[in-house]
Structures are given as C-alpha cells and as structure tokens.
Symmetry: C2
Subunit: 477 residues, 2 copies
Amino acid sequence: MSFLKEISPLVKKHFLSENDVLSRRAAQITAEIQQGERRNYNEVLDLSSGDLHRGGIKPITFVRQVLAACLYPALLEDDSLPLDVKQRTENLLRECNGGSVGSYTESSGIAKIKHCVSQFITRRDGGVLSSPDNIFIQSGSLMSLMIMLKLLIRSEDLCRTGVLIPVPTYATFTLALEEQGAAIIPYHLCEEQGWTLQVEELHRALQEARKICNPVALYICNPGNPTGHLQSRKSIEEVIRFAAEERLCLLADEVYQSCVYGDDTEFYSYKKVLSEMDSNISSTVELASFNSASKGFMGECGLRGGYMELVNLDPAVMKYTHTLFSIAPCPPVVGQIALDLMADPPKPGDASFPTFSEEVQSIKNMIRKNTGRIQEVFAELPGISCHPLKAGLFVFPCLHFPPKAIKWAKKRQMEPDMLYCLHLLEETGLHVRPGCEYGQRKDSHHIRLFVGTQENIMEEALQRLKTFHMRFMKEFS
Amino acid sequence: MSFLKEISPLVKKHFLSENDVLSRRAAQITAEIQQGERRNYNEVLDLSSGDLHRGGIKPITFVRQVLAACLYPALLEDDSLPLDVKQRTENLLRECNGGSVGSYTESSGIAKIKHCVSQFITRRDGGVLSSPDNIFIQSGSLMSLMIMLKLLIRSEDLCRTGVLIPVPTYATFTLALEEQGAAIIPYHLCEEQGWTLQVEELHRALQEARKICNPVALYICNPGNPTGHLQSRKSIEEVIRFAAEERLCLLADEVYQSCVYGDDTEFYSYKKVLSEMDSNISSTVELASFNSASKGFMGECGLRGGYMELVNLDPAVMKYTHTLFSIAPCPPVVGQIALDLMADPPKPGDASFPTFSEEVQSIKNMIRKNTGRIQEVFAELPGISCHPLKAGLFVFPCLHFPPKAIKWAKKRQMEPDMLYCLHLLEETGLHVRPGCEYGQRKDSHHIRLFVGTQENIMEEALQRLKTFHMRFMKEFS
C-alpha cells in the first residue's frame, strides 16, 4: 500500500541519473583497506571536492579562536587568547540575542555582520558603495541562489523560465535549477582561448532558447569552477552590455574571488564594473552576486556561511526578497561569524596579524607550487593539455583519448572520462572527477583536480596520475 | 527596464500578506529607547519566539565545551576541560574529513552521528530498533520537512497535492507548504478538551478536501506548538489507524519531545506506537518524524541541527530521498555535533554529569515555576482562559473579548488579537504573538507566550500583561 511508490514525477524525472558510482567506490575502497585488504596503495587520495581542510590544510588560527570563544565565552578569561580575538568575540556576542550564538538571528543575517560585509565589498571595489540593506546572509551561496530562483521562476507560465548557464559548470547549480522547474540554456566557454566567455556564444544560445522558453537570467561563475578561468574587465563589460540589451538579470557566482594567482591577473567584481559603466546601464541592470566563507583561503565549508548582494532591484521586488528570506530557516550563527571574520580579518598592528598573514601566505604559496607542478607534469604527458590556472581551486585539463579508448568506453556504455576516472581510482587510489559531470563540448573529455592540498599529497597524486596515464595511453594507442 | 518587476506570481500570491508589523514595531521601540526616548518601561520583553538563550537561559556547559574544543582543538591541551569533553571532542573530530569541522560532510550527515541518533531513538522508544540508514540530518527540522514535501508534492498533477495540517499551527510550515504549491487542508484541534486531536475532525477535513485536491499526507505537531498539548498513546493509535485507512503518509513534528511536564504525562513517539500496532499497520504506514537541537533544553537554535527518521518507506523512494539530500547543501557541522551531544549526553560517572544534570534540572524547574505562575495570574484575570501546559515551550490562552473590543478592531480592519498584541507592546513593551497568526476557530482569539525565560523576566512580563489586560477589559466593557 506504499503511497510514496508514486513518487513525484518531477523528482523522478530529474534525479534518476544521479548516482555517484565514483564516490561510492572510493568509500568502499577506503573501507576495504581499513579492513586489511592489500592494494598497491595504502589510501585513497581525494582531489574530488573543493575542501581545503579535507586536503590537510590547517584552519586559520584567528578564525577558530574567535569561534571557540563565541561558543564558550569562559575562554575570554583565558590569558592565552590574543587581545583582538577577545575584543572581536565580545563585539560579536553583543550582536547575538541573549549574548548567545545559540539564539535565532534575523533571517537575512545579523545586522552588524551585514554591515561588515558591505564595508568589505566597498573596500574590495575601491570605494563603490554597498548597503547592508542589499546583503542577504544564508547557509552558503547555493541557498541564496535558490531563493533568487524562486523570485525568477514563473512556474505558472505556460512558457518555461530559462536561465543561461555555462558549459562546463558545477553540477549542483544545474540540479537546483532543474528542481525548481527552470529550463537550462547552456552556453559554451571557449576552451581554446583559456575558457573565455564570448558574447557571440551568449547571443547564439539566447536566440535558440527563445524558441522554446522565456530566458530571464544569466548565470556566470567567475573565477570559474571547474575551469579556473578569470574574466577580464573587458569581458565583464561585454557580458553586462549583453544583459542590458537582452533584459536579463545577472547571477554572478564569485565565490572564488579571493583565490587569484599570477602577477598580471586581478579579480574585478561584476558590481564594480557595472558601477563604472554608463548610467543607463549602471543604474538598471539587475545583479545578484554571491560569495561565501567556504571557498576562500579560510576554507570553512562545514560552517555554512554565504552572502548575496543585490544591485538595482526594484524596491517592490526587494520586499518580496526580504519576505522569502524571512520564511527561510535562520542561517547558522557560526557560519555568519565566519563571514564576519572573512570580511574583516586582522589588520597590521593587531595581535593576530602576523600569524594570520603567515597562514594565508603559506596557503597561497602551496597552491602556486601545486599548480606549477601540475603544469610541469602535464607538459611531459602525452594526450593531456591544460591552460595555466589563473584563479579558483581547480584545474580542468583536457584528455585527448586515442580512438581505441573511446571505443572501449562506448562498449561499456560509459563516458570515456568517467571510465578513465573509475580506473584511475581502482588502480591507483586517486579520486578526481570526470568532465562529463560538468558538461563539455561533444567529443571532448576532461578531468577536474582540486589544487588546494598539501604539497606532498599533490606530489603523490601526480605520481599516481602519471603512472596510470602512461599505462592507459600505451594500452589504447 | 526592471525585469524583476514581473515577480513570480506564485511568490506574489502567497507572500503579499507577510508583513510582520509587530516585530518591526518591537525593533523600533527598542531603537527609540536606546536613543533615549522615555517610556514607562525601560526595555521590550520578548516572549514572541521559542528561543531559550534569548530568554536569558545559559547554554549547557558540556555542549559548549565540546563545540569550542572541536573548533579549536588546541584547547585539548588545556587542563581546565573535563576528561569526557576531551574524549568526545577527539571522537567527533576523527569523524570529520581532515579532522576539521570546516570540511564538508556526507549530505545526510556524518555517519557516526546518524548512528548515535538512531541509538538515542532506540533508547527513547524502549528498544524499538532504529537504523542509521533511515536518519537524515539537515540544518533544522524544517529543511528536512521541505525535502519530504518535494517527494510528496506532484506539481505536474492537474489535481493539487493536499496536506492535512492542524489549526492552530506554527505558520512557517504552512508557508513552506504553500510555497511548494501544495493545498492546505486544515483540521481543528479541540480546544475545549485541551487541544486534543480528534479523528472525527480528521475525517471531516479529509472528506471536504477530496472534492478539491489529492490529500497525501497528515502533519501532526506533538507536543503542540503553539498549543502545548501532548497526545495520549490512544490518540496516537487512532491517528495512525486513520492514516492507514486513508493511505496518508504521516509527518510527525516531535521537536518538543524532551519538553514534557507534569507527573502523569509521558511522551510517546509515533514511531514507538506504530511499531507496537498490528503488523498490517506497523509494517505499512509511512512515517517521517522530526526532531532538532533547537527545541529541547539545549535550546541551540542558532547552531542549526535537526534530523528526520523515515519508517516504512519503499526502498525505491528511499533512493530518491538520498538523492534529494545529496543535492541539498551540506548540513552545518557544528549543528550536527549539537545533535550528537543531544542524543548522547553525559551519563552518571562522567566528569561532566553533575553540572550537566544540574543545568538541565534548573531549566525544567524554571519552566514549571513559570507555567505555575502563568496559571495563577490568568486565573485572577477576567476574559482569559488557559489549559494547563503539558508539554512544549508555549502557552496559548484564549482571550474572550467584549463585543466593544471586537467592533473597535473591525473598525481598524485588524484581527482583535493582533490589535491587542500591538497595544500590549506599545503600552507595556511586552512582545507576544496573536492567535490569528496560527489559525483559530472563527470568532475565537488567543495569544502565544513563550515560557522558557528567567523567572524574574516572566514575573515582570506577567505584571505588564496583567496591568494592560485589566485596563483593556475595563475600557471595552
């Protein structure tokens, strides 16, 4: 008599294929090794997710000291905590109802923390004003994005609401869109030119989509996941002009904004670039931009804190946004505090500053070294090409499989890069993700590797990849 | 050119009315007092939300010590932390990826914590087995409920999916249902008999609803919010039998399960009662039950941790549930740890046990004293009647307004109890919520008061209420 056998068709349609064989196999292998099974490697190396702490990177001391003291204020009596940690803790607890991080807060976040975030944005953008009224905090940027989608998606329309999204892109956002009933309008990033976003491609995608849905928004991920590209100022201007002409709302996922490498590279926010364009554009194009405490050098994914800034939204729409946030669950207070610490880190002269800047610098150095080594190793290997990493925490090299390898995958009814990843995992214990999960041009193949891990782990991972790849290419050539 | 002016009709339809005048006015008054404005009270007393720490209750020391040490493991070197705190911290950190609460976890929660929760359920239910595979952790019970709704609601059907919900009930759940496009089927609790749930009323509601929608689930809140009622074992059996006959999935919101008062009262979970019924029922009726770290004596609302247990769901449906959780954001790790500590608190013999049990007992005593005083004060006042509180953290007295007061409210186009609450706030600074927000029988009126606050605050609140109420009744008699 199971009623739920008749599962919602929407759920059924979209999620049948979601079956993460790779992660399940990685967990199985780990369990088997723990149970004493012998393999020619002693543990699974996980470069599959963008998680600094999982990669062995130590949390930032200042962040954890403040959080610990917020949770257990008796620590304020402790002489070992630096003065700025104590002061920040006291200031933050004053903003919590009843002086406890265990109380509910305003549903869009603690006012003082929204203020702190808006000041951070103003500094980041060289003085472009940001108002706390336009800041909405939630348990990560995906939650805010999903709330924005609720505003955008007209599920009562006969014509489905469409959102332009890049290929390749991070799968979770695509799933969230599908779940809300939106039509996905893919536009391809140009791999040949370092994964640049080209406006002609946006036009092409939009024209085709207009035949079948009602496009309302353009989603951009900059710096890119999984591609590691960074948009130039000129490219951002072009995209904004396109959005203005086509009356699209911009959804700018900028969660990797602090992860920018190379000497000639700089992160420009959509907000800043927009604000410096002609006033008929700067005062009209609607923009939601996203950032989080998970993806920067703090790497606090598990604490769950992200914010969204809205620009140029109609006051009436802002009212609805506030209402939607007010019925969403209260964002985790510990995650909110993490955002405050990210937005206002120790400054020169503060007791925590030397340790803090040393820790951040050492993470940056590690990532630079890792990406350098990745380039060196890939340069030696046949059938792999990779653009230099400019930003973000992933590399997304292209794999040029021999025809025999593609045939072999076809026979097994699998994507070639998925089969490659499964065998890489099985034979060497290295867990990376296949390009097919992010979308890619037909007949192109990729893998995604996380670069935020200790150098010795990265070295070991590259050795495993090298050995496997050489054998693989030889076998199928 | 604002695109978003054309707001989603679904959003527009459901949320236009959501405009919390009362809370906004409370915040304004607080700001005015801070700016030096003189009133005949020196602060707003807030009995509006169910938040122990906001009410001045101190967090449980054991909980906060473990959380602080999890965030900043250097504290494990500290001699001042009890041994069981250190051991628990070490055990928990071993379960976190990279040994950090900053890493992502499994999307349905850390396996070891799900195991701990299932053991807690087994103990609570006197040995009825619970499997970690049926436990899903999220950032609060509402998040899990919303994921269940996605499974239940067939938005592609012509006939809308219906869910039976009690009147009165907590508004957030109703809003979540509406937002998902479900039809709400109200059933009335019987106030005359202490807010009991009567099966005849369920039948009536269901028959009527069948004409206009497709009812699939029955939502129960036990112990009740805002009503403070506690279902008897017999009542639960009747409801389960009804669900079996009518093929409804049960959604049992049991977040106040640890807040039960009185000597002749005992909490029975739906899971336990179901498991002890005839096998044609116990093995078939689908049940989702919810609990959280926010609503018990820990009162850790801000940390965001809740779980759902599923019973008798079809294995195919369980697969979809796992998939839906896998694309939901990772639950906050600190909230997950709070659940672990709730499910497995210090035991006699543990170093933290004496302090822990003293703290919990003192909160229980405070609530007993508060509810005793509430009964005493209400007994003296004309036009207020209230059932003795059996469970939960709220009382929901009935206000019998004189006809003149009702006319006065009508003239102002407001619900009488809303107008009462606004004036109570304005004149005395006491913030409680009006019954109209929870739903109530036509021409009946209520207020909801939180009982989890320090005794001196409660005494002050009762004096303010008394003064205002006497004046109000006199003015309108």
